[in-house]
Amino acid sequence: MITLRHPWQITLVLIGALIPPLAVTLTERGAAGLKLLAAALAVSLIWDLIFTRARWQQPSWHSLPAALIVTVMTLPTLSLWQLALALSFGLVIGEQVFGGRGFGFLNAAAVTLAFLVFAFPGTALQEASPALGYATLPGLALLLAAGLVFWRVVVALALGLLVGLAMNAGTPPGVGLVLPAIFAVTFLVADPVASAATQAGRWLYGFAAGLLAALFTPLGMAEALVFAALLAGLAAPLIDDIVIRAQVGRRSARG
């Protein structure tokens, strides 16, 4: 286990986990990918500086991982103003209005991607390649070790996804279908800010997200996971509340 003491260490670990998938994406895309990456980083830095200044805090750099995730999951054909608008929306409405990362209940990157899908119909998200899936695995391991991804969420999500896909198709899905899901699962759904905070809640949250993603797969795996992350994230506070009430009830019944 890795122990994190300062907020900037969290950002550093996240960026570290994002480097291999980002490298894969950039080699697949070339120069167009670099342009989008630079724009995304600039937009996220600007909002981060504006809001941390307004709150009299040190710059947090928390928006950088969100910018990297969005770069990996959008198509390189996206125009820069569309990316800037969507990212601004996701960072401000999804995160900064609540007081910054950790105070909200949704993943800023998931909000950004959902905004893109709704705002510009026809602009699809980038479907992940198997190479991206493999490149995410070291990051996933790092995040699990650092406690920034909960194993319960990941296991429950895999279960939900397998059950849902098996219900859809009638047969258990192959590795070719699961591999492209790993990136979005790691960085959108299993984000500790978005997921439930209680142990039982994490099982429920992961399973619900997996099941939802399986139901949405006709939209394409990337879009399915974005909306699953969003809906499950909205339900996470409710799941926690139910779990806590159930535990309090059981304790008071015990006397």
């Binding site: 569309q82 608008l85 905004f115 709704f118 705002a119």
Partner: protein, 216 residues
């Protein structure tokens, strides 16, 4: 005179019914997909609120306390029915686009609120000025939201294309702006901006999270 003017201008920004009192949100969300519908709705509501407040204020000393809400609603709904009829007669297509929302002015908290809170206790002149101010304050927000939603969502203002005028050839309309959530987002951002500009409008929080960092 200055008091009348004050009653007229205060509801525009400082006591705006939509952004400060959060009244009339339902119609503000529903009819703001284009500027034309927002303008029509603003006009209908302003006429209804002015007439109803004046009428209720005129007979305020004869209204029994126990049935005052029934009388207020009767007056308001009579005016709304007339307004709806007028729209159908002279602007049929627009009345179809507004569907039930003109009829729903009857239940608009803004109209009821001004009748109950102001017109019942003030003379007709003051009531009219207050109602007109509130109607215009509501209209102001609707026009801002309607302009943004039509301009960004369809790329037009009052059905006139904007892109050739502004020289923005690469602009893709943001389809989200035509959906209901966009009105929530715009209204929320508007309230945020207003309260940043006028901090007196900020509500006191119900509770505060205290931490060692905040104490420092």
């Amino acid at each position: 005179m200055t008091r009348l003017l004050d009653r007229l201008t205060r509801p525009l920004i400082d006591e705006n019914p939509v952004t400060l009192q959060i009244l009339g949100i339902c119609s503000a969300l529903a009819v703001t997909t284009t500027l034309a519908t927002a303008l029509t709705m603003s006009l209908a509501l302003t006429v209804v609120i002015c007439l109803s407040a004046t009428l209720i204020s005129l007979i305020r000393n004869h209204i029994p306390q126990s049935v005052r809400l029934i009388i207020q609603i009767t007056i308001i709904s009579a005016l709304v029915i007339v307004m709806d009829g007028l729209l159908r007669a002279f602007a049929y297509e627009m009345s179809q686009r507004l569907s039930v929302f003109v009829g729903l002015i009857v239940t608009n908290c803004l109209v009821m609120g001004r009748a109950e809170a102001f017109a019942m206790r003030h003379p007709p002149g003051a009531s009219f000025a207050d109602a007109l101010g509130n109607g215009l304050g509501y209209s102001l927000i609707l026009i801002v939201v309607g302009t943004l939603r039509e301009g960004l969502g369809l790329g037009t203002i009052l059905a006139v294309p904007l892109a050739p005028m502004l020289g923005l050839e690469g602009f893709t309309p943001i389809a989200l702006m035509q959906r209901a959530p966009a009105a929530f987002f715009i209204l929320g951002l508007l309230i945020w901006a207003l309260r940043a500009w006028r901090p007196t409008q900020v509500e006191t929080p119900e509770f505060r999270v205290t931490g060692h960092e905040e104490d420092a």
